[in-house]
Symmetry: C2
Subunit: 703 residues, 2 copies
C-alpha cells in the first residue's frame, strides 16, 4: 500500500516490516511465545508536539513496538521494542492480568467444545444427535469476570448454538448451557447448566441468505439503481495516512484496540492552520445485558478492551459497504504464532453529498442563494460475534465533526421454552428465542487541542431567567440565557446529561477570545445520545466499566492513558476499578487551562423486538463536535453555490449564478416518469425556472 | 399539473378551478373582500374513513372550501363554500380575531414605512440620509400581542434594517426602533423607541453573494463533482398525489398553514395493507426570543399560525435544492384581491441512498451479507423572513418514518453599541450586531392509526431493577427492564422527555398483539430533540403557545382540531389560551383505546455565535417513528443485497451473490487518484476481492 512504501509517519501504525522486526527480536530473547499484541507505542506527546512544530530541527520520535505475549504456562508479559536498532527496552510480567483475546483464540473454542464429552452430553440432553456435533457452534466470549475462577486462569465462556444447516442463522437455535474454556489447558473446565432446562427449538428456520429469500418468493424488484459517481475523482488528498480536505488536515491511524485513531486534526482558517484535536478515537465500550439470572450477568462485553475494534475489523473488500469513489487503508497485525495478518481495506474513506449547506431567499423578490454541502467519511466496521458496529468519522465543511455509529448484525439470543415468561428481562423475538435487554455504551476519547493544548471545559445549560414574570427584569417572562459552569477539577467534571437544559459541554481555550462575541474560542460537544448506565452502582458492570458512570469525565493529559477500562481488560474484577478511576483518583487534579482529555459515554438502550430478527436494520446514533465562537464568521461562504441570484439581478432580469454543480440541473430537465410530468422552462441553460408564484404578489410593491 | 388534471382526491388541496369557484361565490354574496384563506376543508374523518374503506359504495366526501376574508372596516369572516353546487353553507364573523397574515400584507409595510415622516425622522436620528429612505427595509412581523393595542386592530411590527447596497445582507445593519403598522388604516400608528439609542453601524459589509465572495478572493475550486443519477428513473409511483414506494402508500397534501400534510399512511406487510397514521403534519411552531427588554418580548413568531408554512413555501425551481431525479408538486393559493397564486414546485419528492441497511459477517469464515438501504424524501422549504426551514419527511424501507428539520438562513438581529453589554440575552456576532438567544419549538401532529383507529399511548422508560445489588433477584446488579406506563387521560398524557430513562412514547394498538413478543403492535416516537420551553410559566409565550408546555400531549380525535395554538393566531392574548388547552379542558377525557392524536413539541435552543453569520450553515434535527412489535420479523430481508456469500459458498469457494447494484463495483475498480492507489483483484466480475487476512487465521479450525 502507498502508506507502507514510505518512511512511516510517527503516528502510522506499525508496518508489516516493523511487526516482523519486533516479533523476531522478542523470539530471539524469549523463544516461542504467543503474540497477542504487536502494535505502535504512540509517540510521547511532548516529543511528538516538538517534532510537529519543527519537523526539520526537532528529533523525529522513535518507532517503538508495544508487545504483549503469553509465555508457556500462561505468564503474560508487557514489552517495548525499539525498531531502529532492534532492542527490547522493557519487559515486565503482568501478574494476574489477562491480555486481549485474539480472533484465533475465539476461533479455537468451538472445535474443542465439539469434542468434549461433557458438552456432547449436554447437547444430547438438549435434543441434538451425537453425530450432529459438527452442527454445534459457539460464540466464545471472555468470561468477563466470574468470582469462582478469578483472573489467574485465562477463560472464555462459550455461548452455544445449533445450526441444522451450515447456512442457517445460528442465533435462532440457542442452547441453554454454557461451557467454560481454559485457554492454557485448551479444555472445557466447567459447564454452567440452568435449573430450568430448555430443549432445542423445533421452529422452522427463518434466514436472510439469498436462497432463503428466494424460497420465500424472492427479492423485491422495484428498486431502480441510484448511481453515485465522481468522474473527476475525489476532493481529498491523501499523502501516506495524512489527509487534506476542505481546510481539514489530519492523520488516520488504526489500532488493534480502538480501530480508527485520528491525530493532529487541524482546520485551515483563511491561511491560519488552527489545531482542534490532538487525538480522537472510540476508546472503549461495554454492552451490559439486563437479565440477572446466572450466568447472564457475565454478558457485558467490553468489546474494545477484550477483543479489539481493530482485530475485529471487517475487510471491506468483502461486501461493498460504500458507494462512489472509495479509498482504502489496510490493517496489519501479528498472528499468535508470530506470523503476519492483514485485513485488506479495513478503513474506507469517501465523500458524500451532504444536502443543503445553507440557503436564503429574500421574500421580497425571491432572490436566493442555495449551496450544497459535502462531507468526508472515514469509516470502519467491526464484527463482535453477533453484532456489527459501523463506526464513521464524518467531517463537515463548516468545522463540524460528527462521530456516528450504526448498529446492525444479529441480536445475542438465549433459548426459552415456548412462550416462557421472560420476566421483562428480554423479548421473544422468534419462537423459543429470547433476546435479552441490553445497552451499547461507547466511550469517545477527545484529546482536546482547541487553538492550543491548554483548554478548559464548561457545562453549558439553557436556563430561564431567575427573575419572576412581572418583575422589571423579566416582565413578560421570556428571558433566558446560557449558563456556563466551569469544570475546574477532575472531580467536578464527572457530569451527566440533562435534557431539561439541553446541556452541552464546551471545550474552550480561555486564552483566546472570539473577536466579535468576546467569548473563548470553543468546540462544543452536542450529544443527545447520552444515557444512564442501567446496571446499578456497585454492580459488576459498574465496577468494571467505570467510564460509563457519567456522560463526561475530564482528566489531565498523560501519555498511555488511552483506555478507560484499563490496559488489560479481560477478567478484571473491578476491585479496584481500572483506568479512568485510577487516573481521577481523589478528584482534586486541576483541569482548568490545562492539556486535557474529555471522555464522553453515549449509546443506546435496546429492548429487542421481532423487527430486529433474524438480522437488524441498522440503527444510527450520532454526536456533534461543533465550532462555537471559534470562527469570526461562517467559514463556508466560499463554497460554490448551486444557484444564486441577487436582488439587483432579479431587478435587471439578469441571469443568475450558474449552477456550480452541473448535476443539479438534472432536477429541472423535462421528464416523464410514472405518468407524472414536471416541466420547467430553463433560463439560459440555467437549471432554474423564472416564474415564481410569489413574484406574482410583488406587484403590490409599487402601490 | 398531473394532479390538477384529474378529479381531485378528497385529500387533495383545492385546485385552481376550485379556488376560483369559491372566490367568485363569496364575491357574489359579499362583494369586494380581502381573501386571506381559500383552502380545503379537510373531509370529516367519519365520512372519509367510510369512503376509503368502500370507495365504490360509500359516498365520496364533498369538496368544501374553508374561507377566511377581511371585509371593509376590518371585519373578519369564517366561511364554508361547497364546490359542487357552489354555495356558501356557513358565514360567521370572527369577532376580535385576526386571521393569518398573507405574503402580500408582509410586502406592503416596508413601502409605507419609507414614506412615513415619523419613520423618516427616526432613520435620520439613526444616521441615515433622508434621500436614502429607499435603502431602508423592514421585516414586518405580526405584533404577536401587545396589551397596549389588544386584538381588535390588525397590526404588524416593523423590524427595521438599512441596506446601503441593494445586494447587501440587510441583517448586518439593524435599526433600533420599531414602527407599528395598522393594516386596515395602512399607516404607522406608533413607533417603539428604546431609551438607549444605537446609531447605524458603520462596519464594512460582510456579504455572502457571489460578487462579495469574488472580492474576498473567490470560491474554493477544490470540490470535485459528485454525480447522482437514476438512469432507470425513480422507484416510486405517483398517481395524482398518492405515492407508492417500498410497501409504503400515502397521500401528499399541502396546506397554506402546515405546508406538507401526509394522509392515510399505510405499509403493505407481505400483502396485508396495514394503516399506521391517518395524518402527519408539522402543525405549529413558535420561536421565542430571550431578550426581556421591551419590545423584544413580542419576538416569538408562531410562524405557521401567523404566516403559514404553505404561504411562505419556497418555489424549488428557484435554487436547486435536491440532487438526482426529483418530482415536484405545485401549490395554489388565492391572492388577497381574489386572484390566483401558484408556488411552482413547492414540494419535492426524491429518493436517496441510505447507506447500510443491514450487514452481518460470520467471524468464522467471513461469509457476509451487506444490503444498502434507500430512503424516500418528501420535502419543502419555507422562508420566515430571516430564517429558512427545510422540512423533510423521510421514509425508510424498514417501516421507520423520520421527520427532519434543517435550520438555515439568517439570524434575526438587533443593533447594539460597539461592544455594548448584551447582558447574556444575545451575542455580538458581527460589529454592532446583536443576535438574541432564541428557541425553535415545533409541534408535530400525529393522528395515529396503528393497525386501526383505536390506539393507546404508553410512556416507555429504561429502568434499573428495584432489587438491590446482592439480593437474590439482582445479585450482580445488572438487571434492567422497560417500564411502560399507560396514559389513560388527556391530563395524564401531558408528559415531558427524560433523558435519564431514555424515554420514548409508544403508540400501541392494545387490540392486536405481536405473534412472538405478545406485546401490542406499536409505533414508537423516539425524540432526543425534546426540550424545555424557556419562557416561564405565566409568560406571554407560555400563554399563547400552550402546546410547547410539554413534550407530549394526547387528545381524542375531533374534526378541525388541527392547530394547537388555535385557528386564528395573530394577536391572541393567551387569555384564555387557544387550541390544545381548550381541547384538553379538565384533563379527564379518556384516550385509552380511542382514536387519538399525539402532539409532540421538539426543537432547539440557539445561543448564536459568529459562525452563524451572515448566513447559517444548516443545523439538522430529526425524530424517529419506529415500528416496535409491529412486524413479525425484519421487513427488509427481501431488499436485494449488494453482496452476499454464505458459509457453504465460502467452503466451496463458489461465487457469491452478484452485487444487485452495479455501482457498488465502482468501489473496487482499480484507480489512481492523488497518488494513492487501491487495487483489488476482482472475482468473476464481482466487486469483491477474495483474500481476507482474517481467513488466514482460520487455519486453526482444522487443528
Amino acid at each position: 500500500m502507498g502508506a507502507a512504501a514510505e518512511i512511516p509517519h510517527p503516528f502510522d501504525p506499525l508496518t508489516l516490516d516493523e511487526i516482523e522486526i519486533a516479533i523476531s527480536t522478542v523470539k530471539k530473547a524469549h523463544g516461542e511465545v504467543r503474540f497477542n499484541v504487536v502494535a505502535l507505542q504512540e509517540p510521547r506527546k511532548a516529543e511528538m508536539t516538538a517534532w510537529l512544530e519543527n519537523p526539520e530541527t526537532a528529533p523525529r520520535p522513535k518507532r517503538i513496538a508495544d508487545v504483549v505475549v503469553i509465555a508457556p504456562g500462561g505468564k503474560v508479559y508487557d514489552g517495548l521494542v525499539t525498531l531502529d536498532e532492534p532492542k527490547i527496552i522493557s519487559w515486565v510480567e503482568a501478574v494476574g492480568e489477562q491480555p486481549i483475546i485474539t480472533m484465533e483464540e475465539l476461533q479455537f473454542v468451538e472445535h474443542i467444545c465439539r469434542k468434549d464429552p461433557k458438552v456432547i452430553e449436554q447437547c444430547v440432553i438438549s435434543g441434538i444427535k451425537e453425530e450432529d456435533m459438527d452442527k454445534v457452534y459457539c460464540d466464545p466470549w471472555t468470561i468477563g469476570y466470574d468470582e469462582r475462577f478469578g483472573s489467574g486462569v485465562r477463560l472464555q465462556q462459550a455461548l452455544m448454538y445449533y445450526r441444522p444447516e451450515l447456512d442457517n442463522c445460528q442465533y435462532q437455535y440457542p442452547l441453554d448451557f454454557c461451557p467454560i474454556f481454559d485457554a492454557d489447558k485448551k479444555e472445557i473446565i466447567a459447564i454452567d447448566i440452568p435449573k430450568v432446562r430448555r430443549p432445542l427449538s423445533k421452529a422452522a428456520a427463518v434466514d436472510y441468505h439469498p436462497a432463503a429469500v428466494e424460497a420465500r418468493g424472492g427479492y423485491r424488484n422495484d428498486l431502480k439503481p441510484i448511481n453515485i459517481t465522481q468522474p473527476e475523482g475525489v476532493s481529498f488528498n491523501l499523502k501516506g495516512r495524512e489527509i487534506e480536505w476542505q481546510n481539514w488536515k489530519f492523520h488516520i491511524g488504526f489500532s488493534y484496540r480502538e480501530g480508527i485513531v485520528l491525530n493532529n486534526i487541524t482546520y485551515n482558517d483563511k491561511g491560519t492552520v488552527r489545531p482542534i484535536f490532538y487525538r480522537l478515537s472510540l476508546a472503549e465500550m461495554v454492552v451490559p445485558y439486563g437479565n440477572p439470572e446466572h450466568p447472564h450477568q457475565r454478558k457485558h462485553a467490553l468489546d474494545q478492551g477484550e477483543y479489539g475494534a481493530g482485530y475485529m475489523a471487517n475487510s471491506l473488500s468483502l461486501g461493498c459497504d460504500c458507494k462512489g469513489s472509495i479509498h482504502y487503508l489496510d490493517a496489519h497485525f501479528p498472528t499468535q504464532a508470530g506470523g503476519l495478518r492483514t485485513i485488506k481495506n479495513a478503513i474506507c474513506i469517501h465523500e458524500e453529498d451532504a444536502g443543503i449547506l445553507f440557503k436564503h431567499t429574500d421574500f421580497r423578490d425571491d432572490s436566493v442563494i442555495v449551496t450544497r454541502g459535502r462531507k468526508l467519511i472515514v469509516q470502519q466496521i467491526f464484527t463482535a460475534a453477533n453484532y456489527e458496529y459501523v463506526v464513521a468519522w464524518v467531517f463537515h465543511q463548516d468545522g463540524t465533526i460528527q462521530p456516528e455509529i450504526k448498529l446492525t448484525g444479529i441480536l445475542n439470543t438465549y433459548s426459552m421454552l415456548p412462550d416462557e415468561d421472560t420476566h421483562g428481562w428480554g423479548t421473544q423475538v422468534f419462537p423459543s428465542v429470547n433476546a435479552h435487554n441490553h445497552q451499547h455504551l461507547f466511550c469517545l476519547r477527545i484529546d482536546a487541542n482547541v487553538d492550543g493544548p491548554n483548554n478548559t471545559v464548561y457545562l453549558s445549560d439553557a436556563m430561564p431567567s431567575d427573575a419572576p414574570v412581572g418583575s422589571p427584569e423579566n416582565f413578560y417572562g421570556n428571558a433566558f440565557y446560557n449558563r456556563r459552569t466551569k469544570l475546574s477539577t477532575t472531580g467536578e467534571a464527572m457530569t451527566d446529561y440533562d435534557s431539561k437544559t439541553s446541556r452541552t459541554w464546551e471545550i474552550c481555550n480561555p486564552n483566546k477570545l472570539n473577536p466579535y462575541s468576546k467569548k473563548p474560542v470553543s468546540y462544543k460537544l452536542v450529544s443527545r445520545e447520552a444515557l444512564t448506565m442501567l446496571p446499578k452502582p456497585g454492580s459488576l458492570v459498574w465496577k468494571r466499566a467505570a467510564f460509563a458512570r457519567h456522560a463526561v469525565h475530564v482528566t489531565p493529559y498523560a501519555d498511555d492513558q488511552l483506555w478507560p477500562a484499563g490496559r488489560h481488560v479481560p477478567q478484571t474484577s473491578g476491585e479496584p476499578s481500572k483506568g479512568i478511576t485510577e487516573w481521577i483518583g481523589d478528584g482534586s487534579a486541576s483541569i482548568d487551562n490545562k492539556d486535557i482529555v474529555l471522555w464522553h459515554t453515549f449509546g443506546v438502550t435496546h429492548f429487542p423486538s421481532p423487527e430486529d430478527f433474524p438480522v437488524m436494520p441498522a440503527e444510527p446514533m450520532m454526536l456533534l463536535l461543533r465550532p462555537r465562537n471559534f470562527f469570526a464568521g461562517n467559514p463556508v461562504m466560499d463554497v460554490p453555490p448551486s444557484y444564486a441570484s441577487t436582488p439587483s439581478q432579479v431587478q435587471a432580469g439578469k441571469g443568475a449564478w450558474e449552477a456550480a454543480d452541473g448535476m443539479s440541473k438534472l432536477a429541472f430537465e423535462d421528464r416523464e416518469t410514472n405518468g407524472h410530468v414536471t416541466k420547467v422552462e430553463g433560463e439560459g441553460g440555467s437549471c432554474c425556472g423564472t416564474s415564481s408564484g410569489v413574484n406574482g404578489t410583488n406587484g403590490v410593491n409599487g402601490h
